[in-house]
Amino acid sequence: MLNTIWLIPVFPLIGFMINGLFGRRLTRYGSGVLGCLTVFASFILSLLAMLFLGEGPHRFTLAEWIVAGRFTVSFGFLLDHLSAVMAVTVSGVAFLIHVYSTGYMAQDERFSRYFAYLNLFVFFMLVLVLADNFLLLYMGWEGVGLCSYLLIGFWFQKDSAANAGKKAFIVNRIGDFGFALGIMLIFWKFGSVYFPEVFAAAPEMFVPGDTLVTAICLLLFLGATGKSAQIPLYVWLPDAMEGPTPVSALIHAATMVTAGVYMVARCSVLFALSPTALLVVAIIGAATALFAATMATVQNDIKRVLAYSTISQLGYMFLACGVAAFSAAIFHLMTHAFFKALLFLGAGSVIHALHHEQDLRHMGGLRKYLPATFLTFGVATLAISGFPGLAGFVSKDEILWSSFASPLGGVAFWVVGVLTAGLTAFYMFRLFFLAFYGKSRFSEETATKVHESPMSMTGPLVILGILSFVGGWIGWPKVLGGGNSFEHYLAPVFAAAEELLPHGVNHAHSTEFLLMGLSVGIALLGFIWAYRWYLRGSTAPENLKNKFPAVYRLVQNKYYIDEFYHLVIVRPIVGGSRWLWKYFDELVIDGSVNGLAAFVRQLGQAGAQPQNGYFRGYAATFALGSVAVLAWLIYVLS
């Protein structure tokens, strides 16, 4: 049974080929069904593989790819608990999004092309998670990047879409460069690119803290920051929202962007050997989480809020990796895939209903019009905000606890994490209230046309809603009476890394309870803040500013602390994050990316100067080259 794991990625590949080659001959119906069925087949196979996996990792080599001397690379697949979880999550979420897409893209004229790209993406993603060597992983890595690029620019008629595709491409190249270099170094040092061999040899080859292993890890992590949109390479993700919304859900929220987390977790042994690299990962993760969350609070585009939110949540996952809580990272990766896909799909449903209106300021009161979307979106919002009992709560709490209790963690990480949690609750409920509550702020004419989406779209929403609710229960923490079976399930994968790491002291259950309570409380504060600001008090923060003469009256108010918080902390943060977004993001980072591209072009143009079309110039270059070589020779020999 397990020897059929290679079929898991092959099914979507078949779908891609048929849709790509004969897409026009198939009807829309045919393309859609084909796209969904192939991914569904992968999902079933992944589930079966997970069931049959049992204890140990299973390797299967389909064929040799490159054999050169002692060096070999094969089309080899590795099924262990980690890749099983990833494969099931990826294929499952992908299947739901394929189904959703049949509804969302129904009007698009390039329907079959869309499904071909989507299938190709799933193929590469599954290759990425199932590969048993760095090179095959790299192939998947490049492949998903290519599909992401194609799908961001899917509506290339829009200039912004084409530019966004370009930006994603350039930024990712920088990350991929680091990744490629890291793989080269690994190969140079270990003489192999197979995961089992490399990870088995690593502890003997390096003492913890070795410079080379730190360099390797940092290079790999550079790759991860590109793909998973972390500081400083996160800038492409918000722009990537130019693509169709299901694409944002699948690629830019649930699966591809988490590839960096998966890769770091996969290389846990290497990272465990380098405390420095782990620290860098943790700091970057924590910083990104907080930074992106503040920026999410000031966006007005519904998808951009979610995009910054994704960056922030990915930051959480890296924070977990950085404090060596790899299973917590993967756990959050999985639950995040459920609720973030749901959020995006819900947003898509809203956008679909409002005929491609994405601005929150033109929404409101959608509760009445889109009941199913409203309900599921609410579940997802609660989940991501960390409402006790829901998926997001469990996984996020696991991360927060690890960041506090792990010997590699610290109070600072925990504080940042909790602050982020508060901000998350704030911006998510802001979004939720602005979109679904209050008076509708769209035109009368639109109001008559607003309608709930078809079954093909609401169906996946409901399923994902259920998953966002119960998905976390498999990792229910011990302190709340659960067994945290998820962590146990993944334990064999990370056992080798665990051995290399220092063991932490046992904290009292009371501490854990206290921290949990605190984080829930802060999330609650965020919720209240959003509630006050966007639902009860006023519909927009601008109004609040007008009330400045009445500050005294508000101070007397029993919400004094709340308002103080607004004035002293929130307003600077909001202002600061708006400033950061405007200047830092657009000027510095965008500027440097664009500047780099311009610099390269100018370099090329300057270099083309001698190629001015005049033969005598060509001959002069040739002769100059020869003269220089001979002069050098004479210099060396005499």
Partner: protein, 100 residues
């Protein structure tokens, strides 16, 4: 007996002058002749080395180079004619559509 170095010196001078000719003249035909000059410089070097090594093999090589020079000249001059027909000039600086 004249030392080998003298011949080589002449050969070097002719080769350098050929290069100069290629670099500075604008007339296609003069450039072709400068290339001929370079080939002749190589011929002289070969012949003098042949004398030095007492090996007549290089003489045959020089004969073959004559034929190569003839073929090059024929093709080069045909190109000159083709260019003259299109552009009514043999100025090499007029050939600058392709660049960049």
């Amino acid at each position: 007996m004249i030392p080998l170095s003298h011949y080589l010196l002449v050969s070097a001078v002719l080769f350098g002058l050929g290069t100069v000719g290629v670099l500075i003249s604008r007339n296609l035909i003069t450039i072709l002749m400068s290339v001929e000059l370079m080939l002749n410089a190589a011929n002289l070097a070969l012949i003098s080395f042949a004398r030095w090594h007492a090996d007549p093999g290089a003489h045959v090589f020089v004969f073959i180079i004559f034929v190569v020079a003839a073929a090059e000249a024929a093709v080069g001059l045909s190109l000159v004619i083709a260019i003259f027909r299109r552009k009514n000039t043999v100025d090499v600086d007029e050939l600058n559509i392709l660049k960049g």
